[in-house]
């Protein structure tokens, strides 16, 4: 944005910055002013000189390189042709082949299916045991003492002991002549 100073009729700081970056980007009026006004031209040149000096000093104060860039064969071949890389890749490939072969051989061994079936039976037995414990955690000997063995109460008995809430009539169970009227 232009900050052309109308009082002094000179370019503002922003215009000078703009002119240093690219003079052609200035509006035509300011460009013309810059060409005609020695004060503004000097201002712009001074700032540009400072920046140019920055580059020159950076160049002067950077140490000279001690080594020259060389393109030796092993450097330009690329990482995929490096012998270390090739050796590592071969080792990884060999390890993958060994692991794969071991798994393949194990899966094709006789008796593997039988072992699997045995494991499944064992797992099923274990699950039955767990279900039994969930229903009644007492060991069989205690069940015998409390007379719980072989007890298989039917639904009617359980209903008698613990009637479901929604089934409990609102009036007395003894009432047989229909619902009571309030």
């Amino acid at each position: 944005m232009s900050d052309y100073n109308t009082k002094t009729s000179h370019l503002g700081e922003n215009d000078i910055l703009q002119a240093v970056i690219d003079e052609t980007d200035l509006p035509r009026r300011l460009k013309q002013h810059l060409n005609e006004c020695s004060h503004c031209r000097l201002e712009k040149e001074r700032f540009a000189q400072e920046l140019a000096r920055l580059g020159q000093l950076a160049r002067r104060y950077a140490p000279e390189p001690q080594r020259r860039v060389t393109l030796t064969a092993d450097r330009v071949r690329g990482p995929f042709m490096n012998w270390k890389f090739a050796l590592s890749a071969a080792a990884v490939a060999a390890a993958i082949i060994v692991v794969w072969a071991t798994v393949l051989i194990q899966s094709q061994q006789p008796g593997r299916v039988e072992n699997l079936a045995q494991n499944m039976i064992e797992a099923e037995r274990l699950m039955t045991e767990i279900k039994g414990l969930v229903e009644n955690a007492l060991p069989p000997v205690y069940l015998e003492i409390v007379g719980e063995t072989g007890l298989n109460p039917d639904e009617e008995f359980i209903e008698f002991l613990i009637p479901a809430t929604e089934d409990v009539p609102r009036i007395s169970v003894l009432t047989t002549k229909g619902p009571a009227r309030c």
Partner: protein
């Protein structure tokens, strides 16, 4: 004197010579590529040094930039853009280096500072020692302004005024439009203008 817009390729003859060299190098001519190395290794080395301030690492990175350039020059479509293409590789390598250094510094109790030049006791008498003092002061001032700029402003500012590249080249290197480059440059210059220390140093040097 304003920074030149083309410092390495002054005339059209030089431009066409350069294009020919790049074309030859692209066809696998190592001799041509060596000529390109002779031409640009100083610029690339300095560009890297300005950003990392470690001479040995700057030399290693310069070597790496040219090896990478040699490996992929066959993919360079426009030979006339060789210089900006080379700087793009260099900018990327510097960023990789600084990123690794940051990660490395997390796992270290104290980060390695910039390379310290051996101090001379007789600085006042020795003109070389005085030059050394000026050099240290200059880089300290540059470091101070660099800290005040955003990453993009810093990169654009350095490419323009320290590496002496023109706006079009910077736009190609950073893959941004020229107007974006100018905007960042404008912001950087506005901050530079307020930096009294470095400006005074430069003005005294000019005087």
């Amino acid at each position: 004197m304003t920074p030149s817009t083309h410092n390495a390729t002054g005339s059209q003859d030089t431009e066409s010579q350069l294009t020919q060299l790049v074309e030859k190098a692209r066809d696998g001519n190592r001799l041509a590529f060596n000529q390109l190395i002779d031409r640009y290794q100083g610029d690339i080395y300095r560009m890297i040094y300005y950003r990392i301030h470690r001479q040995m690492d700057a030399e290693d990175l310069t070597q790496d930039v040219f090896v990478r350039a040699y490996r992929s020059i066959s993919r360079l479509r426009e030979p006339q853009r060789f210089r900006s293409w080379l700087y793009t590789i260099a900018v990327n390598r510097v960023n990789d280096y600084l990123r690794k250094k940051r990660v490395h510094s997390i796992f270290k109790s104290s980060d390695e500072g910039p390379e310290i030049q051996p101090e001379a006791d007789d600085r006042r008498e020795n003109p070389e020692a005085l030059e050394q003092v000026l050099k240290e002061d200059f880089w300290r001032q540059v470091g101070r302004i660099a800290q005040k700029l955003s990453k993009m402003e810093r990169e654009v500012f350095m490419l323009r005024f320290m590496d002496d590249l023109n706006i079009a080249e910077i736009s190609q290197i950073l893959k941004k439009s020229e107007s974006t480059i100018k905007t960042h440059l404008y912001r950087a210059l506005a901050k530079f203008k307020k930096e009294k220390g470095l400006r005074q140093f430069l003005q005294e040097d000019l005087a």
